[in-house]
Symmetry: C2
Subunit: 189 residues, 2 copies
């Protein structure tokens, strides 16, 4: 019997991209009225919606810099829990990298550094996560979870698990995990 | 009712990587005994198995050069047929790019140039094609077709279609198409 497959998103799930955004933004615009931006101040909003409209391009510029996706902090416990999950599940990392093509190489190198136990055969750079054949997708983005759960014949059972981020705190309709300790309990207890 | 999904490989299916390999190899090693290598001389062999062992690294070096995947010829009729298929199928391009990470950007740019009608949401860079949720996969690699057809519960119906290349002429067990005109007949007649 093959193992069940869990697909796992990168940004805001195993990689703390928001931390790097906040760090660069608060450094570059320290003297503007809405600064400092904090996780709490984002409550229910994507960072794009929390900055003044003329600053959105600065957030984009951060993501297009060569090092952005290479230096992201790892989410607490993600490494240990994913390695444990591999004993009972087939783990794939699936990131919507097509949205930022310059992220391909830094994301690949970041995974090799921090998650060397994930074979490259199990890394997916995609756009719409409807293309993933997995039993579960752990993602912070409800749009991707909905795409993933869409079924062509109504018979498949795929479940999207919402990983909490400041932007999605008000989202309902999915089982929610707040951190990797909760992922561990959900899949291994 | 959602459209059926067709996933389509890149190298040897829409992109003629073999042509570029032969061109570079026959140029660089014109005076060696096994040269010129031709498509016919490969009959049933991957190019890796057709060159002397000490030349395999040269083939690898070609693929690691910045321009290799950027300059590949488009397979005849692939553009017209894929664009026609989009009216009745959801088309994804799925390439095992994780095997050659330096190919990410040239492959992405090549697709944007030659297949601008494929949205970036429908591009997948992966390793094992078992991860694809599609109804069909058109690929020249029988190993990937088998991975794709593997089912976790025996109930899904997914079909791998073998796209003829010199290396796979003796492979059996899949429906076979020899070119894009045959793909057009299979899916649109």
């Amino acid at each position: 019997m093959p193992k069940p497959i869990i697909a796992v998103d990168m940004d805001e799930v195993i990689a703390d991209a928001l931390a790097e955004h906040l760090l660069r933004y608060n450094r570059d615009f320290a003297h503007e009225p809405e600064t400092p931006l904090t996780r709490d101040s984002l409550h229910g909003r994507w960072i794009w919606d929390a900055v003044p409209a003329h600053r959105v391009r600065d957030l984009e510029r951060y993501m297009l810099s060569d090092d952005f996706f290479r230096v992201l902090p790892v989410m607490p416990h993600a490494q240990r829990v994913l390695e444990r999950l591999q004993s009972r599940y087939d783990i794939f990392i699936a990131t919507a990298a097509m949205e930022v093509p310059s992220s391909f190489t830094p994301k690949f190198l970041w995974l090799a550094e921090h998650f060397p136990f994930i074979p490259t055969t199990n890394i997916v750079f995609c756009g719409a996560k409807s293309i993933l054949r997995a039993d579960f997708l752990i993602d912070d983005n409800p749009r991707q979870l909905r795409l993933f759960q869409e079924s062509s014949n109504g018979q498949l059972t795929r479940e999207g698990i919402l990983f909490t981020s400041p932007a999605n705190v008000a989202v309902t309709g999915f089982r929610r995990v707040n951190d990797w300790l909760e992922v561990e309990s959900m899949f291994l207890d």
